[in-house]
Symmetry: C2
Amino acid sequence: MYRVYGMASSGNCYKVYLTLKQLGHAFEWVETDIMKGTTRTPEFLAMNPNGQVPTLEIEPGQFLPESNAILCYLAEGTLLLPDDRFQRAQVMRWLFYEQYSHEPYVAVARFIVHFLGNPSERKGDLEMRHKRGYQALDLMEQHLADKEFFVAERYSIADIALYAYTHVAETGGFDLRGYPRVKNWLARVLAQPRYVAMAQGI
Amino acid sequence: MYRVYGMASSGNCYKVYLTLKQLGHAFEWVETDIMKGTTRTPEFLAMNPNGQVPTLEIEPGQFLPESNAILCYLAEGTLLLPDDRFQRAQVMRWLFYEQYSHEPYVAVARFIVHFLGNPSERKGDLEMRHKRGYQALDLMEQHLADKEFFVAERYSIADIALYAYTHVAETGGFDLRGYPRVKNWLARVLAQPRYVAMAQGI
């Protein structure tokens, strides 16, 4: 049985949680609070030297870090990852986009506002995160102009990865009122079979 | 024939160049200077709305952005990507690690020092990039303690992705003398068949 070391309030961990639930896998969730230094212990660093959650334990002693690498692993051979080579490459494109151009802004803004309590010394940093985060959202809004989902007109791990932090962007101070297509897409993800909300039921 | 929109001095573009050369593909290289705004024209944004190089044109009008997504696409079915599911997931793990925990520090430090001429107003930013960049190098050094290559004891796109900016880290102000295993691994990559150096022959 899969074991997930994760923090329920983390979007990166929620990606893995949602994917496992939607694929119908049994798994054990080990709640791991990064704010309490739990990922910096020698025991945790032996599992993931980068000291981050989520980390998936596939078999006892066999560990896989990096949320989007975990999604790729779990989605192989399922409806969440297209068989077609170019479509699969487009899924990868959005997974890398999410980690490079979206998460560092949308997720980190949420961290500053929601978890750190929006301290004044992070004001300039937060402004930068909002600016770049809105750029990421702009690109999503543009892409969704003629699409229901991000790749190949079907729900895939590209949608799951982008959904995780986008659907809680407002807790990071983003205003989604100017993003009607993103909001409609969020609603389509929420309507998927076996959808589970973040930080519930873990 | 593949067409690559890339900038020869960019590590992200070099990944694609090296992979294409090592796989023996014919391709056309369209030199695209991001410093001159070439990736912000309507024509370029129609190919890649994120306005970044590299962008691979697979067939006329069929575009794939994101360097590591391009590597995944090109490596499929080749010796550069293992067949085994867990090994392939480990490759993905390092590709995401590279884009999230390595490139934003090692590559951006090089950009500040080498391309912007190390302006004094970026001093604090550069210090942060060096600190986090050394953390990325530390983790690589640790991982290579008992390994020749990053995954499955064989050369893969995980090595190519990490090599691209690590082998020019010194031009970003990093001192690699404390990283003997990284340096030996760099030499092993350089010794691979059909290796081509960065910004040569394009």
